[in-house]
Amino acid sequence: MFDVLLKHMNYIAAMALFVIGLYTVLMHQNLIKKVIGINIMETSVFLFFVSIGMVQNGQAPIINLKDASVTYVNPIPSALILTGIVVAVSITAYSLSLIIQLYKQYGTLNLDEMVDEVEHD
């Protein structure tokens, strides 16, 4: 039982982080916390994606011409996640800039108060 858990640690960790992130985005009314939640979700997916490229006893994927018998980890997931991180940063930057504008306009960071104010207008 414990062995199985340990063997699939990456799945469990990714799923737990994903759910924590989703909970933070959906249940917290503070906008900054929502953005943090999105980031946690993104991290969980990145972690999972990189971990599936793992090869037992694998080396860093740098071509070694002298010794062809060395096994490498799968480099594609890491390369993809590098792109994914760039995308995540741009989403975070854009949402933070939106939050600055929202704070200027409403004077609060609470989503409920903003919705109330819009509906009263």
């Binding site: 994606f49 599936i52 995308v87 989403i91």
Partner: protein, 495 residues
């Protein structure tokens, strides 16, 4: 074939021009001519590519000459190029309308920025339609979600920032969910190219059913959020209603459709009909589609703001598209694709005419529109034609999509959904007809018996009239589009 490289040009040109536009600052004339030349040029490139495809057939374009399993691939078939042609045609119409409307809605220094965003939007939409690589699709999707949020938040108003923030949060959740699903797919298959993934899935799907079910669940939920499938549509009304009118037209007519097309690709090119049916995904899609059709219309009835009403009506119409998709038959798919085109035209016409009413009178409330047909006859006639299409009155393209959908439902032995289509059409009539009746038959409180030409610049009413003509032409000659769709479908439904 001369036009082999054109799809790449079509993606690169808007990206390059989008970088240049913000440098031109306040030269409105110059920006206008550059943007219309760019989109016009892209339209002709796409048209040329489309003509050549008919004689040469579908082909795959490998970037940098790398093999399909190593590099990124574009796959261009008749359907893709027809959709690209449609996107560019509608964009050209919306953009030429927006030249008059945008200075009215935004501050002068934002003019160049707005078109820069529009070109980036085009770039990501075309990329998503062409691409045959799953991760590439994800990247284009993220660019699309940022730009489509930005064309809402560019208008500095309280409601816009809030709507775009909510949209951004939900669409980020959607894209992260999709990436999670892609990770599961990659785990099982070891490929990212759609055809390669499909090949592997064919042989292993009985070995890893759980894994593939999780993957397709994650991906379809994510795409469902982004394409506003019924219970996940909550972001749509605010976002589409508060955006500047040309942006609303873009979002409602094109962006949502591109996500739906991505869903087609996932369902048919990646998973394959057999697996979709084996996992029971089609039944789930049918149920959500039917719920969306009915509840979208019910919510629309309760709205008082014209653009919010149109946004809820989009939720209902997306339900029709998913209904055809969920049938998993050739007729169903053809009907849903036909509705993508006809809904795109109708919704653009509706949003542009609603935008003209707001432009000329500043009125957004449905109760203020009494007698508006006398002051803005052209606008209201276009609005009425498109609304008749939505209801499904013969002679407009919306009627034909309902006929095709109905025939597909009868073929697929789903008479219950046919009843729901009739119910939804009836509900459509409940909220569209009162506007038309109030506009033409009620008395205008301000100036009665005075029929005048619309107080609109030519730039605004000509695109609307073109749209109305297209709607009627397709209403009478649906074969113009349906033949192409039916010819290109068999390639999709294999496996």
């Amino acid at each position: 074939m001369i036009s082999t490289q054109f799809p790449v040009y079509l993606v690169i040109i808007p990206l390059a021009i989008a970088v240049i536009l913000p440098l031109l600052k306040q030269h409105r004339r110059l920006i206008q001519s550059i943007v219309s030349l760019t989109v016009g040029l892209m339209f002709f490139l796409a048209l040329f590519n489309w003509f050549e495809l008919h004689s040469f057939g579908a082909y795959a374009y490998n970037f940098g000459g790398y093999a399909a399993n190593l590099g990124i691939q574009f796959y261009i078939d008749e359907l893709t190029s027809l959709l690209v042609l449609f996107i560019l045609f509608l964009s050209f119409i919306i953009i030429s309308y927006s030249f008059a409307d945008i200075p009215h809605e935004l501050e002068p220094h934002q003019f160049g920025l707005y078109y820069s965003l529009i070109l980036l939007l085009l770039f990501s939409m075309l990329g998503m339609v062409y691409t045959n690589d799953l991760f590439n699709m994800y990247v284009f999707m993220e660019i699309l979600s940022i730009t489509s949020t930005a064309i809402i938040s560019i208008k500095h108003r309280k409601a816009n920032f809030l709507a775009s923030f909510r949209y951004l949060m939900l669409s980020s959740i959607g894209s992260i969910t999709i990436l999670f699903g892609l990770a599961f797919l990659y785990m099982v298959t070891g490929h990212l190219n759609m055809f390669e993934v499909h090949k592997v899935i064919q042989s292993v799907w009985t070995t890893y059913p759980m894994n593939l079910l999780l993957a397709s669940g994650f991906i379809l939920t994510g795409l469902g959020i982004k394409s506003a499938m019924f219970p996940l549509h909550v972001w749509l009304p605010d976002a589409h209603a508060s955006a500047p009118s040309p942006s609303s037209a873009f979002l409602s007519a094109l962006v949502v459709k591109v996500y739906i097309f991505a869903m087609y690709k996932i369902l048919f090119r990646v998973l394959g009909t057999m697996m979709v049916k084996g996992l029971g995904i089609d039944q789930a899609i049918l149920i959500f589609a039917a719920l969306g059709m009915v509840f979208g219309s019910i919510f629309a009835i309760g709205q008082r703001d014209i653009k919010r009403m149109l946004a809820y009506s989009s939720v209902a119409q997306i339900g029709y598209i998913f209904l055809g998709l969920g049938l998993m038959s050739e007729q169903g798919l053809a009907a849903s694709l036909f509705h993508i085109f006809s809904h795109g035209l109708m919704k653009t016409a509706l949003f542009l005419s609603a935008g003209s009413i707001i432009f000329a009178t500043g009125k957004r409330k449905l109760s203020d529109l009494d007698g508006i047909g006398y002051r803005m006859p052209v606008t209201m006639i276009v609005f009425s034609i498109a609304a008749f299409g939505m209801i499904g009155i013969p002679g407009v393209s919306g009627f034909m999509s309902k006929i095709y959908l109905g025939l597909a439902l009868i073929e697929g032995q789903h008479p219950i959904y046919l009843a729901l289509i009739l119910l939804s059409s009836f509900l459509n009539a409940v909220y569209y007809l009162p506007i038309i009746i109030a506009a033409f038959l009620k008395e205008d409180p301000e100036n009665r018996h005075a029929m005048k030409m619309d107080p609109l610049p030519k730039r605004m009413w000509i695109p609307m009239v073109v749209l109305a003509i297209c709607l009627i032409v397709i209403g009478f000659y649906p074969q113009l589009i349906m033949d192409i769709i039916e010819a290109s479908l068999p390639a999709y439904l294999v496996g």
